[in-house]
């Protein structure tokens, strides 16, 4: 039996040294706490079955709070198993900013939103972009550069990425 997209995703993250934790909506706040380095800011988890209101995350921060933050927590629209990628929506709530202007990005994705590969991902992008002009970032691991003579993790963007996968309570 071949591995499920979720298993593939988790293993791809592992090979990139991206910490990943599977949790449920009930345990989400406690799980998230372990992945925060404060001060932390976040974007509301609108399409997910969890909320940041019971956490130490400043939700919907001001630009100054964002600039001071070390961790940014955002929802991911979906994840791409083969590559260990999360898709960050370019929405007006500022998910792009909260995932970018921080040292650590914590992405939260629903287990049901892990697609197997790029083909499925781009079918999804095509449908959604044609429906409504929108943007997204396929983010794979932390920002990196080799321009200074050797590979350095953490260039302009975050130097660390953590992923939290939400599974159903009864799973």
């Amino acid at each position: 039996m071949s591995a499920s997209p979720l298993d593939t995703f988790v293993s791809a993250l592992g090979s990139q040294d991206v910490p990943c934790e599977r949790t449920t909506s009930t345990s989400f706040a406690a799980t998230l706490a372990k992945h925060l380095r404060e001060p932390a800011v976040g974007i509301p988890m609108e399409d997910l079955d969890v909320s940041l209101s019971d956490t130490d995350v400043t939700v919907d921060p001001t630009p100054a709070e964002l600039k001071a933050a070390d961790t940014g927590v955002t929802p991911a629209s979906f994840a791409i198993a083969d590559y260990g990628s999360v898709v960050i929506p370019g929405t007006s709530d500022g998910a792009e900013l909260a995932s970018l202007f921080v040292g650590r990005h914590v992405a939260v994705v629903d287990a049901d939103d892990v697609v197997p590969g790029m083909e499925t991902a781009f079918d999804r992008f095509g449908e959604s972009f044609r429906d409504h002009a929108s943007s997204a970032i396929i983010a794979t691991g932390p920002s990196a550069t080799a321009d200074m003579g050797e590979l350095v993790r953490g260039a302009h963007g975050p130097s660390e990425v953590h992923v939290i996968v939400l599974e159903d309570d009864d799973e």
Binding site: D60, D93, E96, F125, F129, A133, T145, M148, L151
Partner: protein, 725 residues
């Protein structure tokens, strides 16, 4: 054109960093593409998308204009660099911008937009760390993806410490990165305009794909309120779904990464709120998302390239850098030598010829030896050697004949223009070889005198440090004519093609091939046939090559019709039959390609079909070091030789260099002797290490054997010679 001294200087100053980085990328490409379940299928898909997109480009641009405008942006088509810069300057002035932050874009280098904006007093900041290093150093990119690839960490540290005089002297890559990020971060945060390139733009949604790793492109767009994207018109593809094969191929093909950190899919103007980082009152969700977007698509010669049957393929290029990284010469000299005004590497000849003109292409075009290793590496399968050949031919055609009378007797070519004396000498090597054999050994003895070698070096640029081919008095064709076949009841019948070198120089390998084929039950004939045209083609003498191709096809066609296979010893000539004849011949190319085989491939086929390896010479458990041939590898025929040798009982170790460095006439040319030897050093290292030092050296190509003879202190031979009794 870079001369020997300039090339030596570049190799001494930048060669080590370029070599280490490009070889790392190239190995990464092999490793990363090997993980794909259907690499070739993805490449075919990518190629097909580009072919269609370029064919339908005017319609796609019309569609894109509509979608960009519906999205709230503006599309401007710029005829040339000046037109593009005027438009960009106007946008920047209208915004009242004092600073423009840029993410990496080769197209913006092409139009020199930085200089145009700086003339208006605008502060232009490159935010890609490599590009910023070059901006600080005031240097040009040496690689299309990793622009500062020629600079070592130590050199960057020295530059920063000198230029910025930081409190604590910078040393490690991490320190340098942190310093650059902090400094650039502030500059990005209060810039008004962000300028990006675009790797791809979809006509259906107006979405642009940006392939990046650092996050600077994201910041460049997010932190400013006006985005200008500058891209060549060829970047448009029909739909979002078309991006998928490219996304899977571009990082793997270039730097050997499965995927880069960020693949931005932006449908500008983006919805991300615009921020003033001093604002401590307004939550992000209440900030304005009002943004301006200008897409500047640049023609600058591209629409004319689209009409040009030979340059059109250049427009399929996705600027991944595989052709640079897989190129043995590029690995030594880098893009400062192997590049034009903007672009570098094998495909740069197409770009520079189309955008700047032949003069710019001529500056580096001869560094492409036609070895063809980039053809497999290119994710859209561009025949980059062919583009280099065509451009070389056009450059030859522009020249006025000067000293042609000097070599007219030696150069019965079909060229209308006038290639250099050197090119005509090498291009007409068949005539040289014929005369050489008729007058051997006197010709060899005379040619090797100091006076002759000095004259050859001065007039023809043939480096005196190289040993010249030793012409044999009795050619292979003459030897064969005097003997009777040893096969009475043949299993197959074949023509052994008497290629130029096997016929006149490496005659022993030809005899060995005949003996091996006969031992395996093949009825062989070796009729006189013209040389393949590889020599003139490599000098950009296409008319002459075509004349050869027609004569070869005419001579071999009756034999093929008679049921004979064509067996070829020299891989570069087989590659002519399989790759280039299609372009040179009106008909007959397919038939010749379908019926011709490399000699060891043919032996492999015979053994697979019942011939017995016991009929060949016993191996004596010899250990072999085998160097295949660049064009043979591109044809996928290295494995056959290895398989045959192993089946015959040899222990085989193979080289893994892309090319031996000799590449036909390249290594004989005075200007390129040092590059050729530098390329060869990798091969020497591999064949002189502890495991290989005592192995018998075999190689498939004539020029590889010449190079190995110069590099090693032990004899070399063609693999078929090991099998002949």
């Amino acid at each position: 054109m870079s001369d020997a001294e300039e090339l030596r200087h570049l190799m001494a100053t930048e060669g080590a960093a370029v070599s280490q980085n490009t070889k790392g990328f190239n190995q990464g490409r092999y490793d990363s593409t090997a993980k794909l379940s259907d690499y070739e299928g993805l490449k075919d898909e990518a190629r097909a998308i580009k072919e269609d997109a370029i064919a339908n480009l005017p319609d796609l641009i019309d569609q894109l204009r509509e979608t960009v405008e519906d999205n709230g942006g503006t599309l401007y088509i710029a005829d040339d660099a000046a037109d593009a810069n005027d438009y960009v300057r106007e946008v920047v002035a209208d915004r009242g911008a004092e600073r423009v932050v840029k993410s990496k874009s080769m197209t913006s280098e092409e139009i020199e937009v930085n200089e145009a904006l700086e003339a208006d007093g605008v502060d232009v900041v490159e935010t890609d760390l490599g590009e910023w290093v070059l901006q600080v150093a005031d240097e040009a990119p040496s690689h299309i993806v990793a622009p500062a690839i020629h600079k070592s960490r130590e050199a960057i540290a020295e530059l920063f410490n000198e230029q910025f005089d930081p409190d604590e002297s910078l040393e490690t890559a991490e320190e340098l990165t942190t310093f650059a990020r902090n400094r650039l971060g502030e500059l990005i945060e209060d810039a008004e305009v962000g300028m990006t390139g675009a790797n791809f733009i979809t006509a259906d949604t107006g979405t642009m794909a940006l392939v990046t790793s650092e996050g600077n492109a994201r910041k460049t767009v997010a932190a400013t309120d006006t985005q200008i994207a500058v891209a060549g018109v060829e970047k448009v593809v029909p739909s979002v779904e078309d991006l998928q094969p490219f996304v899977e191929l571009i990082g793997r093909s270039g730097t050997g990464q499965d995927i880069t950190s960020y693949l931005s899919l932006l449908t500008p103007p983006v919805d991300t709120p615009t921020v003033d980082f001093d604002d401590d009152e307004t939550p992000l969700s209440e900030l304005s998302t009002d943004r301006d977007f200008h897409l500047v698509l640049i023609d600058n010669g591209r629409m004319a390239m689209r009409e040009d049957d030979d340059l059109r393929e250049t427009l399929y290029c996705i600027r991944c850098s595989a052709c640079s990284n897989s190129c043995a010469n590029f690995q030594q000299v880098g893009g400062h030598a192997f590049g034009g005004k903007t672009y570098s590497g094998g495909i740069a000849t197409g770009w520079e010829a189309g955008i700047e003109g032949l003069d710019t292409a001529e500056e580096f075009n001869d560094l492409c030896t036609g070895c063809s290793r980039c053809v497999d590496a290119c994710p859209v399968g561009i025949d980059i050697p062919w583009i280099n050949t065509v451009v070389r031919d056009r450059i030859n055609g522009e020249k006025e004949g000067q000293f042609d009378f000097l070599v007219d007797g030696l150069t019965p070519d079909e060229e209308e223009g006038s290639p250099s004396l050197q090119k005509r000498f090498f291009g007409n090597f068949e005539t040289v070889a014929k005369l050489g054999s008729i007058t051997a050994p006197l010709s060899n003895w005379l040619a090797d005198t100091a006076v002759s070698r000095q004259a050859m070096e001065r007039v023809l640029g043939v480096d005196a440090r190289r040993d010249l081919p030793q012409f044999q008095r009795e050619t292979l064709v003459e030897w064969f004519a005097d003997r009777d076949t040893t096969v009475t009841d043949p299993d197959r019948r074949a023509v052994l093609y008497p290629d130029l070198y096997t016929n006149h120089v490496q005659v022993e390998r030809g005899k060995a091939a005949v003996r091996v084929l006969e031992a395996l039950g093949v009825d062989v004939i070796v009729p006189p046939v013209a040389s393949s045209g590889r020599a003139p083609l490599s000098q950009g003498m296409i008319s002459t090559a075509r004349d050869h191709a027609e004569r070869v096809e005419r001579a071999l066609a009756p034999h093929i019709a008679d049921g004979r296979d064509v067996v070829v010893v020299e891989p570069s000539d087989l590659a002519m039959f399989h790759r280039e004849y299609e372009r040179l011949l009106d008909d007959g190319a397919d038939r010749l390609a379908a019926n011709s085989y490399e000699v060891m491939e043919y032996v492999y086929g015979l053994l697979e079909n019942g011939a017995s390896v016991a009929d060949l010479a016993p191996s004596g458990d010899d250990e072999i070091a085998y160097h295949s041939h660049c064009q043979q590898r591109t044809l996928g025929l290295e494995g056959h030789t290895v398989a045959v040798l192993e089946r015959a009982g040899f222990d085989v170790r193979t080289s893994d260099v892309e090319c031996c460095g000799m590449a036909g006439s390249f290594g004989y040319k005075t200007d390129y002797y040092d590059v050729s030897v530098a390329v060869g050093e990798d091969l020497r290292d591999q064949f002189t290490d502890d495991d290989a030092a005592d192995r018998t050296v075999v190689a498939s190509g004539t020029s590889c054997l010449d190079q190995l003879d110069d590099l090693l202190e032990r004899p070399t031979q063609h693999p078929v010679e090991l099998l002949a009794r």
